[in-house]
């Protein structure tokens, strides 16, 4: 199932400590697609776990991540609204990013942000700018 995630929903990007700026928000490097990403920036779909609010669903994302990755204590989760992210990137960079469900085995909240070039800094920078301190959550 690789359907688009609804614009009102949210995605979460897990950011390692060395990709966070002093204020705890992500640097552009946290959203840059790498060669081995296969055009998919791995994120987690927050509303996959129900209709609760962000704070309700963050624990589910943590659990989903914990079961599939060695999540570091120091990592942080950056939350983005799907519709806002798509609209801002379109308006400011004229790029249509996609945000799609991409469940992998039992990692059901896994999703992909794509539609922009590998090593593209423009979109990565724009996405990083949109994340405020209040959008950051502990990964564990």
């Amino acid at each position: 199932m690789t359907a688009d995630i609804h614009n009102t929903d949210h995605i979460v990007r897990c950011c390692s400590l060395r990709k966070l700026e002093d204020d705890g928000t992500p640097a552009p490097g946290a959203f840059r697609l790498r060669d081995n990403d296969n055009d998919c920036l791995s994120v987690n779909w927050l509303e996959c776990f129900g209709e609760g609010d962000i704070d309700d669903n963050i624990p589910h994302v943590r659990e989903d991540l914990r079961r599939h990755y060695t999540t570091k204590k120091s990592s942080k989760l950056a939350v983005l609204n799907v519709g806002v992210a798509k609209r801002v990137v379109k308006e400011t960079r004229n790029v249509d990013i996609s945000v799609r469900m991409d469940p992998r085995n039992d990692h059901r909240s896994h999703a992909c942000v794509g539609g922009y070039a590998t090593n593209n800094t423009d979109v990565a920078t724009t996405l990083s700018e949109m994340v405020g301190k209040h959008d950051m959550h502990s990964a564990v």
Binding site: S16, L17, R18, K19, L20, E21, D22, A27, P28, G29, R32, R34, T70, K72, S74, V88, E91, T92, R93, N94, T121, D122, T125, T126, E129, M130
Partner: protein, 265 residues
Amino acid sequence: MTDEQVSTKMDASSYLWRQTESRTDTDAFEVLLTSLKNTMPNTSILVDRQSLDMSGWGNRTPTRDVGLGATHHTPLPENAPDTTFINALSTLKSRPLYLIQPENAPDTTFIDAPVDWTYDMVVRQPHHDVEAITRMDDKEVIDKLVVSGFAGVAERLTYLYDVTEEDEEAIRLDSLRGFAALMIKNRGIHLPQITVTDDGLIQAVWKHPRQGTLVMDFQESGDVEFTLLYGRWDQGTKRRRLSGELHPDQAILHVDHFVRDVMET
């Protein structure tokens, strides 16, 4: 002026010439430069005629009359400075500007400032100091930053080394060296946010709340891959962009020129 510019290798001095010629000291420009404060290249000094005369250099240094485009060459005095540059301030707004190019001068001397000198004067690290960084290991580079007055930067870099996990790319030494050299050579530059990319490259980020974000990735080659997105992300309009891969000194000049261009259009 196009919305998109991609920088290519160009002669830095020609860019400097153009940017100085079209210098416009607007408030907004100065606000922008809170993110990239020192725009003067380290190899040159920008002063006005009066200051040249007051310093006693007026007839002794090769200068380029930036305002009129005339070039004058006179022999350099033995004590011409190579270790000093002046960060021109807004006091230069209405005066003709002169560009001193002291790259041929000895590097052991300094300038005596006149009593009423009105500019920031910053002692530039001798060139060989920066060159020495290319032979240092990571600890030595960080120590060099400390003794060069960048204790906070050194502390941040040490932290980044400490938090690097086993499954992450190690911080690339040549990238660290390039970043340290930029900071030491451009002492007036605003301190960036310092992070590390997936490839282990030092990534420096300057953010300004209204005027945009500049990102520099320090490549192992010594160049920087840079992207400037001009303007706010939340204004619903397309942002101008400058990007390229250049030597750090040239990248700074290109960014400065681009910003001036945007301000004028």
